[in-house]
Amino acid sequence: MTEPASVVAAPDERTTLAVEMRGIVKRFPGLIANDHVDFQLRRGEVHALLGENGAGKSTLMNILSGLYEADEGTIAVQGVPVSIRSPRDAIESGLGMIHQHFTLVPSLTVTENVLLGLKEPRFRLHLPHYAQKIRELAEGSGLRVDPMAKVWDLSVGEQQRVEIIKMLYRGARVLIMDEPTAVLAPQEAEELFRTLRDMTARGESIVFISHKLDEVLAIADRITILRKGKVTAAAIPAAGRTRPELARLMVGREVLETIVRTPSTPGPVVLQLAGVHALDDRGLPALRDVSLDIRSGEIMGLAGVAGNGQSALAEVITGLRACTGTVTVHGEELAGRPPVRAIDAGVAHIPEDRHGTGSAPDLSLIDNLMMKSYRRAPIARGWIVNSTVARERAVELKDEYQVAAPNVDIQARLLSGGNLQRLIFAREISTMPSIIIAAQPSRGLDVGAVETVHRLLLERRTAGAAVLLVSEDLDEILALSDRVAVIYDGHIAAVLDVADADVHTLGLLMTGGAMGSDEQPVAVRQGA
């Protein structure tokens, strides 16, 4: 039983490590996503994993949760070496990943969702028995949720709790959370943070993947930062760190985080919505009697908790969703007209779903960049596509908007999130549109790409474009907008001048509260 002296970790330290990844290497054709990455997660800590898109943090966590297999390196969970080859292996080792997009069945109850895919119960589903078990587990972890509620009745925050319960029920001792606050209102995020604190107090460990530096500083005990597949900060304590410091470690240079917003000089109203009603995909009302004016040269922020009609609003203006009421652009009626009319009227659209709507993943960058311009000269020559011009134009746009890609012939799906968004901006903004509908333009992007997105939107505003900025990130809304509209349950709850808006007021309006009603104290985000 004599241990060789070369074993580095002292036994007592090893027992406190929930996860230890050592020398992880993962190569993809043409790049090294993880280059000898070490990652140590202590028991009972919240460990933030920071990094730009394409820095390799998703790859690292996908290796830990069994979606990828590492080329080199070892993983130990609770001090025991493990080999994780599938998500099932991961959960058996007590590792549970909670993805940004929930994997719940809306029409089933919480209990049914938690039991889904498990070996127990085998055949007879004695729901009350399991509901009781889940209730006990939930209460023991400080996660309030009714086990018999149908998932579609739950708020996004509650659905997230169900995801956490699902993982705990499967015996997870380590939770990996991929941008958990992206879909939450500030108050909900606050509640999540409390839950996470409770959980770590009981010895569970959390890997917290996020781009929002404030949140990371507020919740994390330690921080690991990746850049281009390498660790630039290994498990540094979060206490005493500053935003610029973290941003520099992520991007590798100083980041201009303060947005210089000159006072706006709004021109005439160019986009007008009056009495707009629309249905969502399930045929339920998504917009009720929405009226909104946007002037040239101003940014109108649209704040709201996900699922309150902001996506439908963006789709109605761009012609992708049918509606009643009037939508006028430069005095031209667009309601009920096909999307091509909105394009011709000068409406650019940065869609919320970059992969599903904004790009054709298997087509080349050239094809993706000409989606809006292939009908017109010089790319169109009659009914022929002038491929020489299309290529030249694509190369120009790629360089001008700094889309990092080896050439313009590669498929769009090979671009990282930030670069795909740069490509979409290049396509939409290069046509000098008079109206820009930007839906969640910086969601999921790293600081460098966010900086670009904000700069471009402000540039267009200065050039006289009317911008509708749909975002769930209130800091972004407050930093960029001249006016802020709050949408709640498909209705515009209020339109405020940005000077009168703050996180607190907006948070209340977003959750259905009235302005000035202050009876319930609302926690303001820490560190903001």
Binding site: F28, D353, A360
Partner: protein
């Protein structure tokens, strides 16, 4: 503690993971490997039923590509397959699963035949009038038949797989009605032969000047097929419409976002696809059979599906795949009237479709 762990029976396992980048050569290499695997499986089956796979293989090559005569026959067989393959490849590019090329072929054959059998042009007209008219009639009839499914899809979202499949039966029975009834020659299920002016020129027609061409039945339809392959390539790669088709095929939501009317394109592509399949029927009756008859196609329309897949929807690939299948059909009749040749076709399609996973996933052998 390692001594106690049980060793698994096979210490290796296959693991797959998502492939990020597809090198240019990979689709071609994969397709060729799939065909090779298919031939090996076919060979094993031939051996299983007591045949000598090598002898059969040699015989297939000899009787389809062995000399100029059989090579010409191979091209004759390949000609309708080029058209049906192109018809499928074009529709499949837009992820529109037209499996009704068979029915569209029958309608094309009927439309072309109607020109001389109704008749629309009087007997003894110039071939320069008759042949182009038959060509137009064939394309139109096939296009209408494809267009019906396209319209149903665009207007009522009727699944095109079901509608095109069902329309096949109607088309086959429609032709059967005409060859058993109004156009029947002496009660047999075939029409009277077409007059010479309704024949596509064949190589053997020029044997007076070039003696070597005597007996070679390759006809103008093959050339039309190659031209069509070029036109389809040009359409897809160089035109606005082709761009729309590729965009819809890759991501319909992005296409809608780009302002493309998907319904109109569905109808248009089904018209074009049907027209190409209709051409297959036209060249078959005017170039090879020279009359309309029951069972004018032994499933060229369905083989077109296999060819489109084998070519990975590339128009020039379709021409090559069609020639290979033409050879297989020709030689198939030599080795067995039914059974083995169709089985080989099926195995090839099966292997090619299965090999698709190699394009999306990387397979690695790892130690357990």
């Amino acid at each position: 503690m390692t001594a106690a762990t049980r060793r698994p029976l096979i210490p290796y396992a296959l693991r797959t993971e998502q492939r990020l980048e597809v090198p240019r050569w990979l689709p071609i290499a994969t397709t060729i490997s799939a065909v090779v695997v298919a031939l090996v499986i076919s060979g094993l089956l031939i051996a299983l039923i007591g045949g000598d796979p090598f002898a059969v293989g040699a015989h297939i090559v000899r009787s389809s590509l062995g000399n100029v005569g059989v090579l010409s026959d191979t091209l004759v067989k390949a000609t309708p397959l080029i058209f049906t393959g192109l018809a499928c490849a074009l529709a499949f590019r837009m992820r529109l699963w037209n499996i009704g090329a068979e029915g569209q072929l029958y309608f094309g054959a009927w439309g072309a035949s109607a020109v001389v059998l109704l008749p629309i042009v009087p007997a003894g007209s110039s071939p320069f009038v008759v042949v182009p008219l038959m060509l137009i009639a064939g394309v139109l009839a096939g296009a209408v038949w494809g267009g019906v499914a396209g319209w149903l899809k665009a207007r009522f979202n009727v699944n095109e797989i079901i509608s095109t499949l069902m329309l096949n039966y109607i088309a086959i029975l429609w032709v059967r009605y005409w060859v058993f009834g109004p156009w029947s020659e002496g009660g047999f299920q075939l029409s009277r032969p077409f007059p010479r002016e309704a024949w596509l020129p064949r190589l053997t027609d020029f044997s007076k000047t070039f003696h070597d061409l005597a007996g070679l039945t390759t006809h103008l339809g093959f050339v039309i097929g190659v031209i069509c392959a070029f036109l389809v390539w040009f359409l897809l790669k160089r035109t606005r419409k082709g761009y729309e088709i590729r965009l819809i095929g890759d991501n319909p939501r992005a296409a809608r976002y780009a302002g493309i009317d998907i319904g109109r394109n569905v109808i248009l592509v089904m018209l074009m696809s049907g027209g190409l399949a209709g051409l297959a029927g036209m060249v078959e009756v005017t170039g090879s059979v020279h009359r309309l008859q029951d069972g004018i196609s032994p499933g060229y329309g369905f083989t077109g599906v296999i060819i489109a897949y084998l070519a990975r929807f590339n128009p020039f690939g379709v021409v090559i795949a069609a020639i290979l299948f033409g050879a297989l059909i020709l030689a198939g009749r030599e080795i067995q009237p039914a059974g083995i040749p169709a089985m080989i076709q099926g195995i090839v399609l099966f292997c090619v479709i299965c090999s698709d996973i190699l394009l999306r996933k990387r397979v690695r052998l790892v130690r357990k």
